[in-house]
């Protein structure tokens, strides 16, 4: 997806299975597209019909989240994928000191 210049070329290519989430301190998390799309906010950023930069680059920079926070968010996305259709769901661990920040992030991502 390096050639973001031409839209036509972009359309003809199959979309990458993975997207990149970048934290404020520059850490990159490469995760499955379907995981990112659990969050309606990220999903609309990645929606091709809106032609955002994010959807062309398959890369979303989340300036409000540092790497610790984003790692936890990604953790949750995997937790969601793994257990959302299961009966027996283990608890999702959240460090107490992160709860408020994570709530802000979760509110932004709508997850």
């Amino acid at each position: 997806m390096s050639d973001l210049g031409s839209d036509i070329e972009q359309d003809s290519k199959p979309r990458s299975k993975y997207v990149k989430l970048v934290s404020s301190d520059g850490f990159e998390f490469i995760i499955l597209r379907e995981l990112a799309e659990i969050s309606p906010t990220l999903a609309s950023m990645l929606d091709e019909s809106f032609e955002f930069k994010e959807s062309k680059l398959n890369k979303i920079v989340l300036r409000e989240m540092d790497s610790f926070l984003l790692e936890k968010v990604v953790d949750y996305l995997y937790y969601h994928k793994k257990f959302s259709d299961k009966d027996d769901v283990p608890d999702f661990e959240i460090p107490t000191e992160m709860a408020l920040e994570l709530l802000v992030a979760a509110d932004f991502l709508n997850i």
Partner: protein, 604 residues
């Protein structure tokens, strides 16, 4: 050195000095020279004596404990040592003979017992029993097994010595049919543990589902926001400030705090900031007057304020509110019984021109005079709720509401005595506000009769969408029929609440369904006992395309057939409450998305 020297003295048997952790009992027995060998030998001696043949294991154990052997033990063991081999042989022969007898008996007798064993999971290995050297059939005879005997494990071909701690295998009647070796016992123990854990988990989950059901929610996968909110609630006392967590989350935290009765002077501060326009606190019972004052001090731009259980909201605080909250358009108070007439006068005089929504509940200091101030000052009031006001005692007071011609939502409920809200006063109100009225709630005004339905509602209420008439036990079929027959001016009700209108029957409901079937979303017919299957037959024919919730608890006619009819005739139906309908059980197939709450058969 001294320690080392002492150590062998303790071990009379001269075993290896290296040992794992042992119990106090083991230590005690070892000190007295009692070990496996000794116990086995005593057992063998007992075996030789035919009188003691049927003594069971517990008695044997009791014996050894009651007469513990002292220092003489080693002597005994040495004395018996010579006989050891002989006895061992004899024992083997004995056991073999007994086994043969048992096998023969088993072949003769029916196999019902072993069949039963096969059905039971824990006894699945019963079929193996014939292959073990000592076979434990499901014979009802007591086994002569005692610690010290060497037998083969019930599960695997390992031989081992029975100890007091060996795990017994019992059949369904509780009779011991064998023992497990150490490894198999460990395995069985782990299996049991797992099973227990699973059962516990399953129970927890069922509890969760049941709780969600009673809250009329479906059990959903927890969102990250919910998880965070839960954690924050737990540590609410340590939170200094919420960041930008969004108004939805803020109100969610507030609601959960109030639900758990945790909203305190300290945590209130977290919800106050000068920008908010709406504030809703569901439990102010722990807030003192100073904290309540803070609300107006920190949030001067409030336009919508709702305080429940605000008992400590007194004249002084309310005066401060009146001075500070210039933008207030909506005030909802519950339980504020420390605000007196004069302060209500001041309030209505200042806010009469802008107040759009006003609720007062559970306050005996809101009196006839207060209603006068309300009526004479409020010019744009659209929503008014007066509920459980024991200070309103004049029969003319409620009728004065007719002067507020702008009302669109009106609730007058549970007056202190039923004579205060009469047909005449309601008709008087509806004559002026009826044409634009959308909501009418007259719960507990039990003096009302059919008259107000026809002369009040039918004649005036063109726009009425929500009607609640709980506990009106004087309205009858004929009134309802007259109201809903040819009521063409009204497009249909969306919500109808008829809980405990005990004089209503089939005809009333059928007439209503003919009129409002196309628009009805919510219906409450709780405790209308006279309803029969006929009503539901009518629903089956006409259909209720928009109906989403129905409460038909304590209606005798509701059974599985009715559930099926509603399942089919109301495609949008999501919640159906059937408390007290004993003939509803789980045997009806209902579509996904429809929740039935209150069935006796849904036990956890």
């Amino acid at each position: 050195m001294s320690y080392r020297r002492r150590a062998p003295a303790n071990t009379i048997t001269g075993e290896s000095h290296i040992r794992g952790p042992t119990s106090a009992l083991t230590g005690f027995l070892r000190e007295h020279g009692i070990n496996d060998d000794l116990i086995r030998r005593r057992q063998e001696l007992a075996e030789q004596n035919p009188d003691n043949d049927d003594e069971n294991q517990e008695e044997e154990e009791g014996d050894t404990e009651e007469h513990p052997l002292d220092g003489a033990a080693p002597e005994i063991s040495s004395a018996v040592q010579d006989q050891d081999e002989k006895e061992d042989e004899e024992l083997q022969i004995r056991i073999a003979a007994r086994r043969k007898r048992r096998l023969a008996k088993q072949n003769e007798s029916d196999y019902t017992d072993s069949d039963d064993d096969d059905n039971d999971d824990s006894q699945a290995a019963a079929s193996n029993s014939s292959s073990t050297p000592i076979s434990f059939s499901s014979n009802k005879k007591k086994m002569t097994l005692a610690p010290g005997m060497e037998i083969k494990c019930y599960e695997c071909p390992v031989s081992f010595k029975i100890t007091a701690f060996s795990r017994k295998v019992k059949d369904i009647d509780g009779i011991i049919i064998g023992y497990l070796c150490k490894d198999c016992a460990q395995e069985a123990l782990e299996k049991e543990k797992l099973k227990r854990e699973k059962a516990l988990k399953a129970r927890k989950r069922r509890k969760k589902v049941a709780e969600a059901l009673l809250d009329k929610q479906e059990l959903k996968f927890p969102s990250l926001q919910d998880l965070c909110v839960k954690l924050i609630i737990k540590y609410i006392d340590d939170v200094e400030q919420f960041g930008d967590i969004g108004t939805v989350n803020l109100s969610k935290i507030c609601q959960i705090l109030c639900k758990n009765r945790l909203l305190s002077d300290a945590s209130l501060q977290l919800f106050l900031n000068p920008e908010i326009k709406d504030l809703e606190l569901f439990d102010c019972s722990k807030l003192n007057a100073d904290s309540l004052k803070k609300i107006a001090a920190y949030c001067p731009n409030l336009s919508n304020l709702s305080l429940q259980f605000a008992a400590r909201l007194n004249d002084n605080v309310f005066d401060y509110y009146i001075d500070r909250l210039d933008n207030l358009t909506s005030l909802h108070l519950n339980g504020s019984f420390l605000i007196f007439d004069d302060m209500w006068k001041k309030f209505f005089e200042k806010f009469g021109k802008q107040l759009k929504s006003f609720t007062i509940k559970n306050s005996y200091r809101f009196t006839d005079k207060s209603i006068d101030y309300l009526v004479s000052n409020c010019q744009v009031l659209e929503s008014l709720t007066l509920s459980r006001l024991d200070g309103v005692i004049s029969p003319t007071s409620y009728g004065k509401i007719s002067q507020i011609s702008t009302l669109r939502h009106l609730e007058i409920s549970f007056p202190t005595n039923e004579g205060l809200v009469t047909n005449d006063s309601v008709i008087q109100i509806l004559d002026t506000v009826g044409p634009q009225l959308e909501t009418l709630v007259l719960d507990g005004c039990s003096a009302l009769t059919d008259d107000f339905l026809v002369k009040g509602i039918k004649a005036n209420c063109l726009e009425l969408k929500k009607l609640s008439l709980k506990y009106l036990d004087q309205i009858t079929n004929s009134g309802f029929q007259e109201l809903f027959t040819k009521w063409d001016s009204n497009a249909g009700l969306m919500s109808l609440d008829l809980q405990k209108c005990v004089c209503l029957g089939d005809d009333a409901l059928v007439a209503m369904i003919h009129h409002s079937s196309g628009s009805l979303i919510q219906l409450d017919i709780n405790s209308i006992g006279d309803l029969t299957f006929e009503v539901f037959n009518a629903i089956k024919k006409i259909g209720l395309p928009l109906l989403t919730t129905i409460d038909c608890g304590f209606v005798r006619a509701v059974d599985n057939r009715v559930v099926k009819i509603l399942n089919d005739a109301a495609p949008q139906l999501k919640i159906m409450e059937v408390f007290g309908c004993n003939r509803c059980n789980g045997s009806v197939n209902i579509r996904k998305g429809l929740q039935i709450i209150g069935r006796q058969s849904d036990s956890i």
